[in-house]
């Protein structure tokens, strides 16, 4: 028998293959487009996370607080102690301008402030008590 494949069958197979490839390509293009957006988001998130991790790094917090306590302004009138979960600093007898500077320092650092107290001891002197998580 002399058999012959119907050319329409071959064309149909080719068209089907092309259609599959077309949809495959479209699907991959869409995946890449979404992937690029996701990647940009992921990188932004990674940067933010890195920034937050750096900021809230416990070692940094302890060393910053320690250096604040050891500063010339506070060396003589501050007391710095640590418990299991907190770093405690008590500052006595600072005048208004010093108190301003200390409060600015405290609030501008990424300290997780658990407890804070500022008290007028005399007409010109203030006392500050600070507890931060560590």
């Amino acid at each position: 028998m002399i058999s012959r494949i119907n050319p329409f069958f071959i064309l149909g197979i080719l068209a089907l293959l092309l259609a599959l490839l077309f949809f495959g390509v479209k699907s991959r293009e869409s995946k890449i487009q979404k992937g690029n957006i996701e990647l940009a988001k992921y990188e932004a998130k990674a940067k933010m996370l890195q920034e937050l991790q750096r900021g809230w790094n416990q070692k940094n917090i302890t060393s910053k607080l320690n250096s604040l306590a050891q500063s010339a302004m506070l060396k003589s009138n501050s007391k710095y102690t640590k418990t299991n979960d907190r770093a405690i600093m008590s500052i006595s007898k600072v005048d208004k301008s010093q108190a301003d500077s200390i409060v600015k320092n405290i609030f501008n650092e990424p300290f997780e402030i658990k407890k804070f107290n500022i008290k007028r001891a005399t007409e010109h002197l203030l006392e500050i008590h600070l507890e931060v998580a560590q």
């Binding site: 028998m1 002399i2 058999s3 012959r4 119907n6 050319p7 329409f8 071959i10 064309l11 080719l14 068209a15 293959l17 092309l18 490839l21 077309f22 495959g24 390509v25 991959r28 293009e29 995946k31 890449i32 992937g35 690029n36 990647l39 992921y42 990188e43 998130k45 990674a46 940067k47 933010m48 996370l49 890195q50 937050l52 991790q53 900021g55 809230w56 609030f107 990424p110 300290f111 997780e112 402030i113 658990k114 407890k115 804070f116 107290n117 500022i118 008290k119 007028r120």
Partner: protein, 319 residues
């Protein structure tokens, strides 16, 4: 009135129906499918002594052998080994199909097509193909002659009772008349070219996807990200919450320091713990408590107000 040819329908084993097709109109059920034996009208056949060993070699001689003999058309060629030499055939698919369709048989009703030269090569008596004509053998050729020229004949049906169709058949290019084969080839080539293009593009996109994956892994390593999205999100939430809590605290503390105090008024104490502030103020006049309270109310929920002479202690919280 046009004469209608009642086809010789022969039910073979497994319900196959066979039709001998010549020039007569065919009346059949349009749902039935048939094997067709072509009368000599539809093909050219000749026996040749060719210096070749194999049938495919003989087939390659066929075009030149029919050159100048057959009318213009798109011919296909076949060869069949004979006792001596080869029978070679030339046939035009488009012509056969269009002629058969004119007789009333649709191309979709044709299963296989046989040549009367092969099927009837063993006949001993002419075979009737219509009221006036018979197929007979002359010098090994099956030819159509008027019935008056033969003395005896037999019906196609009676012949087929003892005849089994040969293996020498063709499947007609059923859709060949719809579109030119060359055009179909062009379409096929175009489709193939597109398939190759899309295939390459598809492969390239695959490598781009892998690159994206690699980039994500690189970012993960560079920024020391947790391995899973769940861990990342949990860590992010924790740090974010810390940051938000401290930002809120700063903002609220700033609002407290901006409490509208007048001369000689001051805070004697400000305490903070767990989103709660306790603050003591010395005011110039006890009536000023209301003014301070209404300011604090803008930013806090007032928990307690404890006046004591010129002093007052506020307990407030925020969310």
């Amino acid at each position: 009135m046009r004469r209608t040819f009642k086809p010789f329908k022969f039910s073979f084993k497994s319900n196959k129906s066979i039709i001998l097709v010549d020039s007569e109109k065919i009346s059949v059920d349009s749902s039935e499918v048939f094997d067709v034996i072509l009368s000599p009208k539809y093909y050219w056949a000749k026996k040749e002594n060719l210096p070749v060993k194999y049938t495919y070699q003989a087939k390659s001689y066929a075009p030149s052998s029919f050159d100048g003999i057959v009318p213009e058309g798109e011919y296909k060629y076949l060869a069949k080994k004979a006792d001596e030499g080869y029978w070679i055939y030339a046939y035009d698919e488009h012509y056969i199909l269009s002629e058969i369709e004119k007789l009333g048989l649709k191309s979709s009703q044709i299963r296989k097509v046989y040549f009367s030269q092969v099927e009837f090569e063993t006949i001993t008596k002419p075979i009737v193909i219509n009221k006036n004509e018979v197929l007979t053998k002359h010098n090994e050729n099956i030819i159509k002659v008027p019935m008056q020229m033969v003395q005896e004949s037999r019906s196609f049906e009676s012949f087929m009772q003892n005849h089994q169709l040969s293996n020498f058949s063709i499947s007609l290019h059923q859709f060949g008349h719809l579109i030119d084969f060359k055009k179909m080839m062009l379409v096929a080539v175009a489709l193939l070219a597109l398939i190759i293009l899309y295939g390459v593009h598809y492969y390239w996109l695959g490598s781009e996807l892998e690159k994206l994956q690699a980039q994500q892994t690189m970012i993960q390593k560079k920024y020391k990200m947790p391995t899973t999205k769940l861990q990342t999100d949990a860590l992010m939430r924790t740090l974010d919450k810390k940051a938000t809590t401290q930002m809120d605290l700063r903002e609220k503390f700033y609002k407290i320091t901006k409490t509208p105090l007048i001369q000689k008024e001051y805070f004697s104490n400000i305490s903070y713990e767990g989103k709660k502030f306790t603050m003591s103020l010395v005011l110039s006049d006890p009536k000023r408590v209301g003014a301070v309270e209404s300011y604090l109310k803008k930013y806090f929920v007032i928990d307690s107000v404890q006046p004591a002479g010129n002093s007052v202690t506020f307990g407030v919280h925020y969310d």
